[in-house]
């Protein structure tokens, strides 16, 4: 090996990762070559300087900040519905043995409760039901307006709250869907875009959602979002997304892991 090759090994030597044999050979050359020795000393000095580069002390808000974030997350996990948690729970309950029995039991329970309710409350309930239906509609509208307003807030945490709020609704009107799609495509915060994707998956049956999700594939530059939206297409079995996913694979700067994930997703959709 010549000096140029040994100089290319300086960093490796200084990192302490050479084998004993390689290290012996290296040290022998450096001991005999003054030019390499001087340059190695200079590089060692640069490494020491790098190590000595100062880093500020963490403020005393960091740990409480983390603890608050963790508490908020635990709180939201209890109340916010997600495909993941629901899927896991159903998988655990629904075995070949318990599944049919569970289904039959639930059906009996619902039928019995409905029959008892109808027999006891038919006439009085008709009026009450109309009032309740009206109140529910008004409440639903209020929630939708509140959710849309939160989605335009300056704070990412509030926008995430707005998405969570929208996700809790039984169904979403055009305004909410449009607001969620706009957030998915344009929000500067990737955490907000991720929870928005989860909420939109829930509303996949609403008009415009599926096509909106497919169109969103081209807009996503974050590797996390690209992988998440590819997974979403498989969950929804949205075969119309194959073209957009294939276009995504052609992007030059595409992350290698995302490339593999998207390829797998396309295979599952074809």
């Amino acid at each position: 090996m010549d000096c140029k090759q040994y100089k290319a090994q300086f960093t490796w030597w200084l990192s302490g990762q050479m084998t004993a044999e390689e290290s012996q050979r290296f040290q022998a050359h450096v001991a005999a070559c003054s030019e390499c020795r001087n340059e190695l000393e200079a590089e060692e000095r640069l490494f020491h300087l790098l190590d000595a580069m100062p880093v500020p002390e963490l403020t005393d808000q960091v740990k409480p900040g983390f603890n608050n974030m963790l508490d908020d997350y635990k709180q939201k996990s209890k109340s916010v519905w997600s495909w993941q948690t629901m899927g896991n729970r159903i998988n655990r309950l629904w075995t070949p043995r318990t599944g049919p029995r569970l289904a039959y039991g639930i059906l009996l329970l619902i039928t019995g409760a409905a029959a008892g309710y109808m027999i006891n409350h038919r006439s009085v309930e008709n009026t009450n039901q109309q009032q309740i239906a009206q109140l529910s509609l008004q409440l639903q509208e209020m929630r939708q307006n509140f959710s849309v307003a939160l989605l335009e807030n300056n704070s990412a945490a509030e926008r995430i709250r707005g998405v969570a709020y929208a996700g809790e609704m039984a169904d979403a009107n055009k305004q909410v869907i449009q607001a969620l799609l706009t957030t998915l495509n344009n929000d500067p915060n990737v955490n907000v875009r991720l929870v928005t994707l989860e909420a939109l998956i829930k509303f996949a049956g609403e008009p415009g959602v599926r096509i909106g999700l497919v169109q969103s594939i081209d807009n996503q530059e974050s590797p996390l979002m690209q992988a998440a939206i590819a997974d979403a297409m498989v969950r929804l079995q949205e075969k119309k997304s194959v073209g957009s996913l294939q276009n995504l694979l052609k992007k030059k700067a595409l992350n290698e892991m995302v490339k593999q994930r998207v390829t797998q997703c396309i295979q599952k959709l074809i």
Binding site: A8, F10, T11, W12, S15, G16, Q17, A42, E43, R45, L46, F47, L49, L50, D51, A52, M53, P54, V55, P56, L58, T59, Q61, V62, K63, G65, F66, N67, M69, L70, Y73, K74, S77, Q84, P188, V190, N191, L194, S222, P223, L224, N255, E256, M257
Partner: protein, 190 residues
Amino acid sequence: MVQLTDNAIMLTVKEGNLDGMALLFERHHHPLFKFLFRMTGDHVASEDLLQTVFYRLIRYRHTFSGKGEFRTWMYHVARNVLKDNAKKIKKAGLQYNIADFEESIANGESADERVVQQQEMAGLMDALQQLPAEYREALILSRIECLKYSEIGEILEISEGAAKIRVYRAIDQLRNIYKKYNTKAGVDGL
């Protein structure tokens, strides 16, 4: 008492023991902050990014397979957080301010020595700022927690050999930039 490994703790977090993340935070938030700060030069942004990384580790805990090291996965997520916030960080620019660190770096016996030390460190900080991000991150990862090239390769999604070359090129470029700075400043540099 047997200490649980990072992987073992993260697998319990994956199963629902979210409080386990507090232990992982305790173990790793300092070196992770160092990485983020050296990449951005911005103290406030680095603390925010630190919280974002841990949020994502919790949020995407189901993607942790346990096959690789937790630390590798954590730095991988940290890189993605940096990429996702690249536009914001680019606007702010690297913001090392040498005056903030005078006491910690200038410990020479004479005033002249201390001035030279400060100038050397200012030059190095400036040189690091000028390195392309992919070289800067490889170099910083190799100097934080003494990560092995195999680990650096996994984090950067390149082979071990390619990681070695990248770190070597990074130090080479850093040295050239640093030499120019020292020539201008008239300081005996490397």
